[in-house]
C-alpha cells in the first residue's frame, strides 16, 4: 500500500503541493485530475522518489520511500514521465529489456527474457520488436515504454500524462491495457490525466487537486458530478450517462 501523508513541496516560496494526504488503494486505477498547475505531476514525482518532499512522507508498505534501497524500490514502483520521449536509438526489444535492469543489471537470464517476451506480446509489439524507437509513431512508442514498465514487473505503475499527443484511438487503446493490467494482473495504476472523461470511464478512484491542495478523493462515481466538478474547475459541467458511463460535456457552445 502507498500512503501519502501531509506532503508539501515548494518551488522557491510558492507551494506547488500543500499538505496532501491520500492513500492509494491497491488493485485499482487511481486518476489524478485537476486544472493546470494543480500539482498533479509534482505529487506523482514525489511518490516515485524523483522529487524529494519538503515536509510530509510517502510510505510504501509502512516504510518511508526514502529508506528503500534503489534497486528494491525499482522492483515495486515504476514511473513513466512525459519526458520519456527520447532521442536514444534503441530497438523496442532493447528498451523493454532495460525494464529488467533492476533484476538483472543488464545481463538477462532466461527468466528475464520470458518477462520481456510476455511484455512485448501484451502490448502487441511482437512484429516491430526489432524496429528502432525513432521509426515508430507516437502511439507505438508510448506502447513500447509501457511494455518496458510491464517487464519491470512492479506492483505499482505510475504514469504521468501517458495520453499526451495521442489520438483518440491510441488513447483508448492505452487505457484499455491499463484496465487489463489492473483486472488481470492485479497491478495498481496511478495516472495523471487531463481529460476527465478518460478518468471517469476507466478509473476506479479519482484524486482531484487544485492549487496544490487536495480537493476531493474518492470513488469515481462520487467525483464525477456537476457540483464537485464546479468546485475543481470553476466551470459548469453537465454530466450525461451513456451505456453506464458518465460523460462530462464540458464543451459549452451556448455561452
Amino acid at each position: 500500500m502507498i500512503e501519502i501523508k501531509g506532503l508539501t513541496k515548494r518551488f522557491g516560496k510558492k507551494p506547488v503541493v500543500e499538505d496532501v494526504t491520500v492513500t492509494i488503494e491497491p488493485g485499482t486505477i487511481t486518476s489524478f485530475i485537476g486544472p493546470n498547475g494543480a500539482g498533479k505531476s509534482t505529487l506523482l514525482s514525489m511518490v516515485s522518489r524523483l522529487l524529494e518532499a519538503d515536509t510530509g512522507e510517502v510510505l510504501l508498505d509502512q516504510n518511508n520511500v526514502k529508506k528503500w534501497k534503489s534497486s528494491d524500490f525499482a522492483k515495486r514502483v515504476s514511473i513513466l514521465k512525459q519526458a520519456n520521449y527520447l532521442n536514444v536509438r534503441l530497438t523496442v526489444r532493447e528498451l523493454v529489456s532495460f525494464g529488467r535492469y533492476p533484476y538483472s543489471k543488464g545481463r538477462l537470464s532466461a527468466e528475464d527474457e520470458k518477462f520481456v517476451d510476455q511484455a512485448i506480446d501484451y502490448m502487441n509489439l511482437a512484429d516491430m520488436e526489432n524496429k528502432y524507437l525513432d521509426e515508430l509513431s507516437g502511439g507505438q512508442k508510448q506502447r513500447a515504454f509501457i511494455a518496458m514498465v510491464i517487464a519491470q514487473d512492479t506492483d505499482y505503475i505510475l504514469l504521468d500524462e501517458p495520453l499526451n499527443n495521442l489520438d483518440m484511438k491510441h488513447s483508448v487503446q492505452i487505457m484499455k491495457i491499463l484496465r487489463k493490467l489492473v483486472d488481470e494482473l492485479g497491478k495498481t495504476v496511478v495516472i495523471v490525466l487531463h481529460d476527465i472523461n478518460f478518468a471517469s470511464v476507466y478509473s476506479d478512484r479519482i484524486v482531484a487537486l487544485k492549487n496544490g491542495r487536495l480537493m476531493k478523493n474518492g470513488p469515481t462515481r462520487e467525483i464525477i458530478n456537476s457540483d464537485v466538478l464546479r468546485e475543481i474547475y470553476d466551470m459548469d459541467i453537465p454530466i450525461q450517462e451513456q451505456n453506464g458511463c458518465r460523460i462530462c460535456v464540458y464543451f459549452n457552445s451556448h455561452i
Binding site: 519526458a83 532521442n87 534503441l90 535492469y101 543488464g106
Partner: protein, 317 residues
C-alpha cells in the same frame, strides 16, 4: 557492418602501418634479430602501432560515453573543452614546478580535464535551450576560452614553443619509452565496457535511470572520470586528435543504434581503422616526410562531420 569485417580491416591496416616509413623494412629483414631494421621495428614501428590502436579506440569510446551522458550526438572531448582543459593543466604544471616531472604533468592534466568536463556538464545542466547544434557550439566556445587562457599564460611565461607540441597530434615522436602512459587507458576502456549498460540507461535521462534504480550521479561521475583518463593519456603522448570522438561513435550509431553494450566494440575497432587510415595517408602523401595525423584526421573528419551535420540533423534530434 559486421564486427569481423572491421576487425580484418584493422589487422590489414596494422600490417601496412608496420611496414611504411622513412626506412624500408620488409618482413624478411625481421628474420635477422641483429639488423638495424629489426631494431627500428621494435623501438619505433610497434610502439607507433600500439599508440594508434590505443588512441583510436580510446578517443572514440570517450566520445561515445560523452554523447550518451550528455544526450547530445555532437558532444565529444573536442567539443566540450576536455582536451583544452587537459592542455591548460599541462601548462599550469609547467608554471607551478620549475623542474616538472612527467607524473606531475599527468596529474595536473588529468585533474584539469576532469574539472573542465565536469564544469561543461554543469553548464549543460543549466541551459534551457538544448538544441543538438547549440550545445556543442557552446562547448567549442568554452574550449576556446580555456585555450586562450593557455595561450596567454604560455606567452607570458615564454612556453609557447613547448606548448605547440601538445597542440598538434602526431605519432611521429612515438618511440619505445615515450608512449607507455597510453597503457593506462586500457583499464579505462575495459571499465567503459563493463559499465556499458549503465551508461545506456543514464543516457535516457535522470528520471528514467532512477526509475530503474540506477544511481545516476555516480554513473555520470564514473563516466566523466573515464573520459578524463583517456583524454589525458592521449593528449600527453600523442597530442590533440580532433573529430575522432565525434564522428566514429556517430557512424556506429547510424547503423547499430545506441545500445552501448553492442556499440562499444564497433566504436573501438572503427576508431582504430579510421586513425590507421589517417596515419598511413599522412606517411605516404609526402614520403619520406610526414604530415602529422591531426591534419589528416581534421581534413577527412571535418568532411565527414559536415556531411553528418547537413544530412543528419533529423537523425540527431
Amino acid at each position: 557492418m559486421k564486427l569481423w569485417m572491421l576487425g580484418i580491416a584493422a589487422i590489414v591496416l596494422s600490417f601496412i602501418s608496420l611496414f611504411i616509413g622513412a626506412i624500408d623494412i620488409t618482413p624478411k629483414d625481421l628474420l635477422n634479430w641483429e639488423s638495424d631494421e629489426t631494431h627500428i621495428f621494435l623501438i619505433s614501428r610497434i610502439p607507433r602501432l600500439l599508440a594508434i590502436i590505443l588512441a583510436g579506440a580510446g578517443m572514440s569510446i570517450a566520445g561515445l560515453i560523452m554523447q550518451s551522458l550528455s544526450r547530445n550526438k555532437f558532444v565529444s572531448p573536442t567539443t566540450a573543452g576536455t582536451l583544452d582543459a587537459a592542455k591548460l593543466g599541462i601548462l599550469i604544471s609547467m608554471l607551478f614546478f620549475t623542474n616538472v616531472t612527467y607524473t606531475q604533468q599527468v596529474i595536473f592534466s588529468f585533474a584539469f580535464a576532469l574539472a573542465g568536463t565536469f564544469l561543461f556538464m554543469q553548464i549543460l545542466d543549466r541551459i534551457k535551450f538544448k538544441d543538438v547544434i547549440f550545445v556543442p557550439l557552446i562547448g567549442i566556445m568554452y574550449g576556446n576560452i580555456l585555450s586562450s587562457i593557455t595561450t596567454f599564460l604560455g606567452y607570458e611565461a615564454d612556453l609557447l614553443q613547448n606548448l605547440s607540441s601538445w597542440l598538434m597530434g602526431s605519432f611521429t615522436l612515438i618511440i619505445a619509452g615515450r608512449y607507455e602512459l597510453l597503457y593506462v587507458s586500457i583499464p579505462a576502456i575495459i571499465l567503459a565496457y563493463l559499465y556499458a549498460n549503465k551508461f545506456t540507461v543514464a543516457g535516457m535521462g535522470e528520471d528514467f535511470a532512477r526509475n530503474l534504480g540506477l544511481s545516476y550521479k555516480l554513473v555520470l561521475n564514473i563516466g566523466l572520470v573515464l573520459v578524463a583518463v583517456i583524454s589525458t593519456t592521449v593528449v600527453l603522448t600523442v597530442g590533440v586528435i580532433p573529430f575522432l570522438g565525434l564522428i566514429v561513435p556517430n557512424i556506429v550509431s547510424l547503423y547499430l543504434g545506441d545500445n552501448l553494450r553492442k556499440t562499444i566494440p564497433h566504436t573501438a575497432v572503427l576508431g582504430i581503422v579510421f586513425l590507421l587510415i589517417c596515419d598511413i595517408l599522412g606517411r605516404i602523401i609526402i614520403h619520406p616526410y610526414e604530415i602529422p595525423v591531426n591534419v589528416t584526421v581534421a581534413v577527412i573528419g571535418s568532411a565527414i562531420f559536415l556531411t553528418m551535420l547537413l544530412r543528419g540533423r533529423a537523425y540527431a534530434k
